[in-house]
Amino acid sequence: MAVVNITVNDQKISAQMGQTIYQAAAAAGIDIPVLCHHPALPPEGACRVCLVEIDKVRNLQPACTYPVTEGMVVHTASTKVMEARKFALELIISDHPLDCMTCEATGDCRLQDLAYAYGVKGTEFEGGRQHHYAIDDPNPFIQVDRNKCILCRRCVRACNYVNGVEAISVVYRGFNAKIAFGADSTMEDSPCEFCGSCVEVCPVAALWPKMSVGKGRPYQTRQVETVCSYCGVGCKLILHVKGNEIVRVSGADGAANHGFTCVKGRFGYDYVNHTDRLTKPLVRRYLLEGKPKAHAAETAHALSLPGNGHTPDPDMEWVETSWDQALGLVAQKWVATKQTHGRDAFAALCSARCTNEENFLAAKLTRQLMETHSVDHCARL
């Protein structure tokens, strides 16, 4: 890559050809505020918060889209720039509810941070028209509050360029422009897959997980980085934990996912604190007590679920035990099976939820210990 020499605020820096001013400045540790820009998305140049002054260029230009050129002289904090940024923020706030005290995003809101930084109180264009959209999208996952939407279009871009679903777009013009799903319908009626990437990139609380509403502010939760257990992609997640409860999941910048997740990773976490969740291994009583297994007919009877009118067989009852004992039992059974019926009586099928390492170990176990090649993976089916 060719090197381009530019000057930012009297500081000479080297940039890469093809970089934007924002990228070059960021690399040199010069902060330029952004709002509609998101590093994982193509630049838009819509919010005008990252405007900078460039010598010999008419008008202020967005740092997030403007490419660097040799000899370019940029000012990121001139009076003109500061006034224009404040102006943009004042305008955004003038059509944005000032309900930060009850807003979910408070404490982790790009707009709030910028308003704080630029001293924008929301009194600048008081009395002007504001939008009053109903908050009524009926989907189970995402709360859509267009009143808070600042039309940065991060969600539109995330949906189009990251997930490739194109469920979100901007409809209508001018002040009436708004984000819409499908043909200005509901999220469920659109091609939306509820991956929640839109929620991930939303800089305010216009898009927010419904399950997380009222469950605590970002600064009231502990952020625990983890890897998603749903599949083997290995998406890094951040669990927002309050007390001992996960109240929200967001994407972490992992090598596999760069902050994005699928619907399961983001919204499928309710099992964690679910009352039905097994936290200890269960073993049937007859196995624990070394009894033989009941006959097939009886088994069917015994397996009948509670409440279906049949009395469960006490031998078939699930009993809590330790991992050592449970796994020990499994090993005993495998060995016995191999000895009794030969190695081809055994086959292993791995889950997509397993990691590569787990799959490797499963193959190793099957081939070396169980001495069979009958190992496969659900993803091949």
């Binding site: 838009e44 819509a46 005008r48 008008n59 889209t65 102006f87 264009f125 013009r173 001018g174 422009a177």
Partner: protein, 1050 residues
């Protein structure tokens, strides 16, 4: 390669016709039924057996849309206007068979009232140079042969056979053609950028998304000469190395799209589009893409997004289209007009093009003239032509004799320019420097009836509705700007709002993504720059002078009246015979009903909405009758505040001084009026002649004011009989109002002006007036009888002097005026009356020397021609050297303007401007504390009602100052009279304005009897009922209950 050059020889020889009749089929003429005219003509020609001799052609736009449907007859070059199908038999009979012109269909030149049947004589076309429009209206746009016959595709032939792409680029760059879409970027350079981009394929795109309100330049070209655009695009494609092109045309132009598609098919058929064009190996094809009507798609990046099937929104540049445009490939986007001009540049050469217009903006400019202009239509003029020439020569000026106020150039994103900018040469740089923009070619003219705040708001409404909503400054900033402006038009604005407007505008201009957002504040900014006074009037006075802002304008008549007299209320009362109540309402705002009933120019009638239907209500004469009824019952003005000790002196007993005195007396002050002359009344007494305002009514009204407790002392001259110090220190006045008028005549400043026989207008009228008003005081009537008199000037004083001299038995009366009749400041009725009375007018003439030894024997007069525009929008007269004539005379009365006598002002601490008017603050306070001024001495010579208005205001200001010691911009407020409407307005739908009876011409000479005789009671009461009662409609608009009707008593 010579064989590929197209000539007409390749076509089979055509039948020769004796005459061609061209009927305009542009959208303008089409909507005034030109198609019916076409059909009628075709059948009439067939019926008369002329089908072999006369060819009927349906052309594109001829440009003269206001006169549509337009018909041209060749070879004579006759142009017929507003032709209806019923006119067709006469045209065929007279013109096509007998070779005569049909005069009534010829263009009527409005100022000279002359029929101009020949196309090239019409001023509308006279100053035009047609390059892009050269074929519009001349050829059948659906025939490629006709285009080829007019050198069409010859440029393409030349390019493909003898020029390299580099040659084309050089030619285009040398021509200096700048993009006609509005930005004015060098077209040749743009092509070169696209050529340099090494990525393929490349695209050539024509921007035909013309969406400005009132603009139809591109449409007319596409409809009238589609091949010229296609040829230009093909040349561009060759130059940049493209094989594919798009014409992005808005779907609202169905005719243009249809004609383009026809033209593309024809070009294919002739091998002028498609593969291997003219055997050169060059391929190029064109597609028409219909836009869905979003204005923002005229922005090139939005346009390309739209072609790609995406939401039509701009994206930040760079990358520029020449690098990454349509489908991220190098693209060249130009406007229709730029492409249409290109073939001519190639054909005639860059030097030819560059020779037209100024160095930096060569060529021609195309404008769609609309709004308050006589010749609405499409024009092409050389760049650099003064704006005023477009409006007044090509455009034919402002209809209905109204005054030009502003012109909006550059469409809704451009700016407006005032009368003072009429000399601005029209080119990219000069218009920008003046505060507007060139834009794509919309030109909207507005007259005095347009409110500039509302005008700016209109464009802002358009721009905000058309904003795509992508960037914050445009999406929200535009709305906030509009809200601020709306507040002002509703009378809810504050001075802070002006700062808000400037703040939003500045930052939108600096930070919006595309030019739509950046230029949205343009009209507001230019409006504020040139018409700030109007914005402030809306804010401080809650008035809209132009009468457009609905919340502020209860009725246009009230609004138009400088004193704000409640005409609908007193008209309603007069209709019921309740004259005293009507008069009471009148006097609340203007105590001079008798005088104004006779001499007021009736601003109310000029704006009366009934006048838009038939004729305005005869408000002044209704008022005169109403006031006359009460002459026998003298009015004693009511006190509205208790008596006060403070004394106020008013210097000057004219309408301003007397009104101020009355209002202060009503507020309890002790007021003395000091008058220099032996009679009170000011110009009402010694300026306006007896035949217009008899002394009876005048003195009756002055007595009313005295009855309010005002003391009037005559023969008291400031500087001679008393000084300012005397008033404050000796006599103990707390405040002084100077209402000393403008009684001093301006000098001609020519040799011989000192000779006997030169008597200045105001001196002449004063002398006659004092004698007529019974205050001769030893003065003698000037000797006029039997003399030859010339009055110099075109104002009311000049006309009064001329008509007075005529009454005094002058043998000849001449009026010498340096401009033309339309530019005379005198009232049109006065001018007409003077004509009737035999006064001889010499227009565009100016005296240069008074002839004679001691006494005047004549005057040497120099002819004038009209030059550039002055700051008021009138054309400056320029002497024509060597063109002089003499008028033999005995008496010369110069009446070229009046000023205030300021000789006494030395060492008084009171400042006067260069125009000899007092320098006053917003509260009408002069530079000396406690001294205020009003009337002609502040405004310069004006009318009675304007002086009354200032009298009202200065009284409020003085009252406030005396109570608080502070100066405040005054507002004179009176209760709103809501008078019920008791008759059925529909019954008066067809009622006509009555004619005013006047003194017969034969008995006028030798007497000063009142000329206008007034109406009888029946006529007046019926006339009052023609009033549309806009004031009641306003109540509905503001959601205020209408007054309850009570049974009519009379």
């Amino acid at each position: 390669m010579d064989e590929v050059v197209l000539t007409n020889d390749s076509q089979p020889s055509e039948h020769r016709f004796r005459a061609d009749v061209l009927i305009c089929g542009g959208t303008g003429c089409h909507s005034s039924n030109s198609h019916e005219v076409l059909l009628a003509l075709e059948s009439e020609v067939a019926r008369r057996g002329l089908s072999d001799e006369v060819r009927v052609v349906h052309t594109g736009c001829r440009g003269f849309c206001s006169m549509g449907p337009v018909m041209m007859v060749y070879p004579e070059g006759i142009l017929y206007c507003q032709v209806q199908s019923s006119d067709v038999p006469e045209v065929v009979e007279e013109t096509l068979l007998k070779g005569r012109t049909v005069k009534r269909l010829a263009y009527q030149e409005p100022t000279q009232h002359q029929a101009l049947p020949l196309y090239h004589d019409i001023p509308f076309y006279g100053k035009q140079i047609r390059i892009a429009l050269r074929n519009c209206g001349l050829i059948d746009p659906e025939s490629i042969d006709e285009y080829i016959a007019r050198d069409g595709y010859a440029a393409l032939g030349k390019v493909l056979s003898s020029m390299t792409p580099e040659d084309v680029l050089r030619e285009m760059k040398d021509s200096g053609l700048r993009g006609r879409g509005g930005a004015g970027f060098l077209t040749g350079l743009k092509w070169e950028f696209a050529r340099r981009s090494q990525s393929f394929p490349k695209y050539v795109i024509c921007n035909a998304d013309e969406g400005d309100p009132g603009a139809f330049m591109d449409r007319s070209i596409l409809e009238g000469d589609p091949h010229s655009v296609m040829e230009g695009m093909t040349i561009a494609a060759y130059a940049i190395g493209a094989a594919e092109g798009y014409i992005y045309c808005r779907a609202e132009y169905p005719l243009a799209i249809a004609r383009l598609k026809t033209a593309i098919a024809q070009a294919h058929e002739y091998g002028l589009l498609g593969e291997n064009i003219l055997g050169s190996g060059f391929n190029f094809d064109l597609k028409v893409k219909e836009g869905a009507g979003a204005f923002v798609c005229g922005e090139e990046t939005a346009l390309m997004a739209s072609i790609e099937g995406k939401r039509g929104e701009p994206r930040p540049r760079p990358p520029f289209p020449a690098v990454a445009g349509l489908w991220a490939k190098p693209s060249n986007v130009n406007n229709v007009k730029s492409y249409a001009m290109s073939p001519q540049i190639i054909l005639k050469g860059a030097p030819w093009f560059k020779a037209i217009g100024p160095e930096k903006s060569p060529g021609t400019a195309i404008f769609a003239l609309t709004g308050k202009i006589n010749n609405t239509g499409l024009i092409e003029v050389p760049m650099g032509i003064p704006l005023g020439e477009i409006i007044f020569d090509v455009g034919g000026g402002i209809p209905k004799g109204k005054t030009f106020k502003a012109v909006q150039t550059g469409g809704p994103l451009g700016g407006c320019l005032p009368a003072a900018a009429l000399n601005t040469p029209v080119d990219f740089d000069a218009l920008t420097a003046a505060g507007a923009t060139m834009g794509s070619g919309g030109m909207i003219v507005v007259d005095e009836d347009t409110c500039m705040v509302e005008f700016a708001k209109y464009f802002l409404e358009f721009a905000t509705a058309e904003s795509c909503g992508k960037c914050v400054p445009c999406r929200i900033g535009g709305i906030r700007l509009l809200e601020t402006l709306t507040k002002i038009t509703e009378g809810k604005g504050t001075r802070d709002d002006l700062e808000v407007i400037k703040y939003i505008s500045k930052n939108m201009r600096e930070s919006a993504l595309c030019s739509l957002g950046q230029l949205t504040p343009g009209p507001v900014m230019s409006g504020l720059r040139f018409f700030e006074k109007e914005f402030i009037e809306h804010i401080d006075d809650k008035t809209c002078t132009a009468g457009q802002c609905k919340s502020l304008v209860r009725a246009k008549c009230i609004n138009a009246c400088p004193a704000g007299v409640e005409s609908p209320a007193y008209l309603a009362l007069v209709a019921q015979g309740r004259y005293a109540e009507g008069l009471e309402i009148h006097r609340q705002r203007n105590p001079f009903a008798l005088a104004c009933g006779r001499v007021c120019p009736a601003f109310c009638e000029q704006r009366c909405r009934r006048g838009e239907i038939d004729e305005p209500i005869s408000i002044r004469l209704v008022k005169r009758f109403m006031a006359d009824q009460e002459i026998e019952r003298p009015w004693t003005p009511a006190r509205i505040e208790g008596p006060k000790l403070a004394k106020v002196a008013v210097v000057g007993a004219g309408p301003a001084g007397l009104t101020a005195a009355l209002r202060l007396a009503q507020r309890g002050y002790r007021v003395t009026v000091l008058e220099k002359l032996p009679v009170a009344g000011g110009m009402m007494a010694v300026g306006i002649p007896e035949y217009r305002l008899p002394k009876g009514p005048l003195f009756a009204e002055i007595e009313n004011i005295e009855r309010a407790g005002v003391e009037i002392r005559c023969n008291q001259s400031l500087g001679d009989d008393f000084t300012m110090e005397d008033l404050f220190d000796r006599d103990g006045y707390r405040a002084v109002i100077l209402a000393i008028g403008a009684h001093k005549s301006r000098k001609l400043g020519i040799p011989g002006e000192e000779k006997a026989g030169v008597l200045h207008g105001t001196d002449f009228l004063r002398q006659v007036g004092l004698i007529n008003r019974g205050a001769a005081g030893g003065r003698r009537m000037p000797e006029v009888a039997g003399k030859r008199v010339a009055v110099v000037g075109g104002g009311n004083v000049a006309l009064d002097a001329a008509r007075t001299a005529w009454r005094m038995g002058a043998k000849e009366v001449h009026v010498i005026y340096r401009r033309q009749r339309e530019a005379m400041p005198a009232y049109a009725e006065e001018v007409k009356a003077a004509y009737d009375e035999g006064v001889q007018f010499h227009f565009l003439a100016n005296p240069v020397k008074v002839l004679g030894d001691d006494a005047v024997t004549g005057v040497l007069v120099q002819r004038q021609r009209l030059g550039e525009f002055d700051s008021g929008g009138r054309r400056r007269p320029i002497p024509v050297e060597g063109d002089e004539f003499t008028i033999d005379l005995d008496l010369i009365i110069p009446a070229i303007g009046q000023t205030t006598d300021t000789a006494w002002m030395k060492n008084t601490g009171i400042e006067a401007s260069r125009a000899s008017t007092f320098v006053v603050n917003e509260a009408l306070g002069t530079s000396r504390p406690g001294v205020f001024a009003a009337g002609d001495a502040v405004s310069g010579p004006a009318t009675v009602v304007e002086a009354v208005a200032q009298g009202n205001l200065v009284a409020v200001a003085v009252d406030h100052w005396l109570k608080t010691g502070e100066y405040a911009r005054p507002r004179y407020e009176t209760p709103r009279p809501d008078i019920a409407q008791l008759y059925d307005l529909d019954a008066y739908a067809n009622a006509q304005r009555p004619h005013v009876p006047e003194l017969e011409l034969v008995v006028r000479q030798g007497t000063f009897r009142e000329v206008e005789l007034g109406f009888d009671e029946h006529t007046v009461r019926e006339e009052a009922k023609r009033c549309l009662r806009c004031d009641l409609e306003w109540l509905d608009y503001m959601k205020i209950a209408r007054p309850q009707a009570v049974t009519e008593e009379a």
